[in-house]
Symmetry: C2
Subunit: 539 residues, 2 copies
């Protein structure tokens, strides 16, 4: 059994405006269907692989949880980085989940669900504060009949009372560290490559996966191959070449003895820990300390923030892999892309005869080798006479650039941040633990929002000092608490929430509930909120 | 006194997506501030000029009216073309307003308000149907206290009881035919040029205005100059050169004896009618017949549709001007643009040092000679590394093209029409006689709209078979009729309109009323409406 460690905490800007700090690339629907994060989880949801450990960042912890829930893949654990510290820290934090002695102090031993089931973190009673109890009580009270089976925020996939069972990974399990924002169109082929590498990993090697290059790419890391190792198809690694010059890349391509580094690593837990302790002792010490004091928080495990503060910000390649002497390379010959730019997205998308790749409501007139994307149903993108261009339209932002400049998209984000433009980092849909909302209209003294509340989810019990709200349910059923009153509202029913009233919105149903909220008042910011109870521990 | 005839019925697509069939270029806010139509009206709202006659098309008659109202310029008449028939028919229809013998049969003689005041069309009693009376009653009843002074839809600018007075134009007035979609940055200079041409027009010439060319433009009509005429600065016209070859244009530019045709003509009514009768007898006969049977309709005058059916579709240049022998050219040396393409808009806009013209939330990174326009507050347009490009973003459509291809924007509209895409012709804001609405969100069984209702305006008394509506007032005051009940709603008040209920929405206030409407039902199209009464004669 191999445990995938999904490194899903990055927040790149090279695919702006689709990828933003608050909702990065791995969660965005870049192609039809699944997000890259979901595709990654699916890739290893197969025989031979245990439930994944997910390492992600605070702003998208609920997005990660909901996307896994949507494709029915319960994680073994969801680790929330207290702050971004690059891949070395994330990888080790994820790996340590499988090391019992690094458990939260005083917590019950980690027990594993069978493949396809989830683990529940059991915080010992003495660590639970009164506030925790209140939160949990509130959460359970708010579930209602027909809901007891899906406590929101505590691994809703696993019915309470289910006995966690051992996962058969053994004391020194195999780990597969993987980014979550790459495209691998043939998951079965990639799994087979991973499984072929198992004997080497069992024997104490760190196996990295090498992609057959199809061009002198200067933006990637390259793996310089050494001797073959037995009859395994693996090669020893002679060295890393990070972002080579064009000339060097061309030489490597011609020599045929180098592969692109996919950033996926297979190793035993003990091998990995030893490599960290030897080559990155400060990362090892600080991450181990942060994990030893990790705190369960609903469905998440939070490494200790104070200890995490001292974790060096460094990639796993620089910190460990470039220094370790026990790396092997498993070649992978099929298609792969790091989707690191709109250029790469254009390459991965289906193209017409003129080389145009269109997504959504896009019309290309006399264009060639051009990417046109409409990221919202109501937006029509039209290109006339474009060559080698990209145009990406979202409801709040449009990007236009030559394809050859797609590596410079990060400059747009920097410029927008300098302007204080919200589009730099904020996504038009604001994802929350209970679902998401978006602003439909914003006036001087009013705001209209669409709220999308997941089945079983509940917003906090709250009140506002500056605004009143009108709610109209347009899909599903809402349970509304208004001061001492609780009522159910169906489609086409509405309620008025006066300024100052304590209120809570829940979806007690089995389908998403959609609500239109019309706010009126002189101050309409999100921070006008007093939370009394919150099942997501935000009060 | 010169009466401007504003030819505001065109609906070009060369500035798509800002200009669309339902809301064309002349009404769009292309630059900060006024629309081109408003700028044209303002240009001739000055001493020496009478109230303008406006000729426009059915779909934007209310837009024209409201835009004039917004800049406080009461028109002498608003003529609504029953169908588009190009500029010859529109110009003559507008001119005939000033010819008493072409008045609606049996109508009281047209009387003119003093400059700055409006005319009221007086339909004789015997021509008024019961339906008209009901409409008018409904309109008056709906005005309420404090409102009697502004009857909506009947030249609201002119207080009832004001006696129309003669405008001093005399029996054979001077007319200035002018397009409404050109840019003339120096209105005072242009007025002076017009006034300098008055003696020639009085003497029976048709004076056209010639722009000093600044390039070998092939898309324009050119005026080939003949002899000077006295000491007036005017030249006789030797001939028109319509859309010359590049070579011919270059020759004309070098010779310095040709000007661009601005499409603005000054002539006596009698001169113009004679020219039509001589050179375009079919246009003259059919338009005169249509105007003789014209019907007043609220604030508008509608030429007879059956007669109008026979009007030839031809431009005034082809029909009359190219054939008439009595044309003089008044040179105009200052800036002018027909704004016929995004290229022309780019030229007219302020540019940064790199030649970039930005409007709205637009960011140019390492761009040159590029037009970036965001046409909505919430949309951020970012260009990276663009050269000689245009990008225009609206909430529902984005156009990207090289500047050199801007003449081909019409192809986009054709392609979108072929796809049945609503963005081809429909504007995101749907302008109605009472104001406008826009769809904020559209789901399977719900729709959210923002309605903007002008002071004193009223929607029809109506009901729906398939939908219920929730209304929340977010600005101003609404008077709501719901079956037998009438009530006032202020900001932050709401009402529910059940399926099938008769209802009407009015703004009895002095500021615009904004209402959020949430519709629910299985069919949400505009045609699910039964109108019982409508002050705009749409029932």
């Amino acid at each position: 059994m191999i445990t995938p460690i999904l490194l899903g905490g990055g927040s790149g800007t090279r695919l702006w405006p689709v990828s933003r700090r608050s909702y990065p690339k791995q969660f965005a629907p870049l192609f039809e269907g699944l997000s890259l994060f979901q595709a990654t989880a699916h890739r290893f949801d197969a025989p031979g692989f245990a439930a994944p450990v997910v390492v992600t960042a605070e702003p998208f912890r609920f997005v990660a949880q909901m996307q896994l829930q949507a494709c029915d893949i319960p994680p073994a654990a969801l680790v929330v980085e207290p702050a971004p510290r690059n891949t070395a820290a994330a990888a080790l934090a994820g790996a340590l989940i499988l090391a019992p002695e690094t458990l939260p102090k005083g917590a019950a031993p980690i027990t594993w669900a069978a493949p396809g089931q989830a683990t529940i973190w059991e915080a010992p009673v003495q660590d639970v504060t009164m506030q925790d109890v209140t939160r949990q009580d509130a959460a359970l009270q708010n579930m209602g009949a027909g809901f007891a089976e899906a406590p929101v925020g505590r691994f809703p996939f696993l019915p309470p009372g289910t006995a966690p069972s051992a996962n058969g990974c053994g004391a020194d399990p195999l780990l597969l560290l993987t980014p979550c924002d790459h495209a691998i169109p043939d998951p079965e082929g990639f799994r087979a490559a991973v499984l072929r590498a198992v004997p080497a990993a069992r024997a104490g090697r760190i196996v990295t996966f090498g992609i057959r290059p199809d061009g002198p790419e200067t933006g990637y890391g390259w793996l310089d191959l050494g001797d073959p190792r037995g009859g395994t198809g693996l090669r020893d690694l002679r060295g890393f070449v990070e972002k080579p010059s064009a000339e060097h890349a061309a030489r490597m391509l011609e020599a045929g003895n180098s592969l692109w580094n996919a950033g996926v690593f297979l190793a035993r837990l003990s091998t990995l820990r030893a490599a960290f302790r030897t080559h990155a002792p400060r990362v090892a010490a600080t991450v181990e300390a942060a994990m030893a004091d990790a705190r369960p928080d609903m469905a998440f495990l939070r490494p200790d923030a104070a200890a995490w503060d001292h974790v060096p910000d460094i990639s796993i390649d620089h910190a460990v892999m470039e220094k370790a002497g026990n790396l092997s390379v498993a070649p992978y010959d099929d298609a792969w892309s790091d989707l690191g730019s709109w250029e790469a997205i254009w390459q991965e998308m289906p193209q017409d005869n003129a080389g145009n790749a269109l997504q959504g409501a896009a019309t290309a007139i006399d264009c060639s080798d051009t990417l046109l994307r409409s990221e919202a149903e109501g937006i029509r993108v039209v290109g006339i006479g474009l060559e080698d261009m990209i145009a990406v339209a979202m409801p709040d932002a449009v990007l236009v650039a030559p394809r050859a400049r797609s590596q410079e998209v990060g400059r747009a984000v920097t410029a927008l941040r300098a302007h204080g433009a919200r589009q730099a980092d904020a996504f038009p849909r604001d994802h929350r633990p209970w679902g998401w909302f978006e602003t439909l209209a914003l006036g001087d003294r009013f705001q209209v929002k669409r709220l999308h509340v997941a089945p079983g989810a509940a917003l906090s019990l709250q009140s506002h000092v500056h605004r009143a709200e009108h709610w109209v349910v347009v899909q599903g059923t809402a349970r509304v608490t208004l001061d001492d009153d609780i009522r159910l509202l169906g489609e086409n029913q509405s309620i008025y929430i006066p300024l100052g009233a304590r209120h809570r919105l829940e979806n007690p149903g089995l389908i998403p509930m959609i609500l239109i909220e019309v706010q009126t008042g002189s101050y309409l910011q999100e921070d006008d909120i007093t939370r009394y109870e919150d099942i997501y521990a935000r009060s």
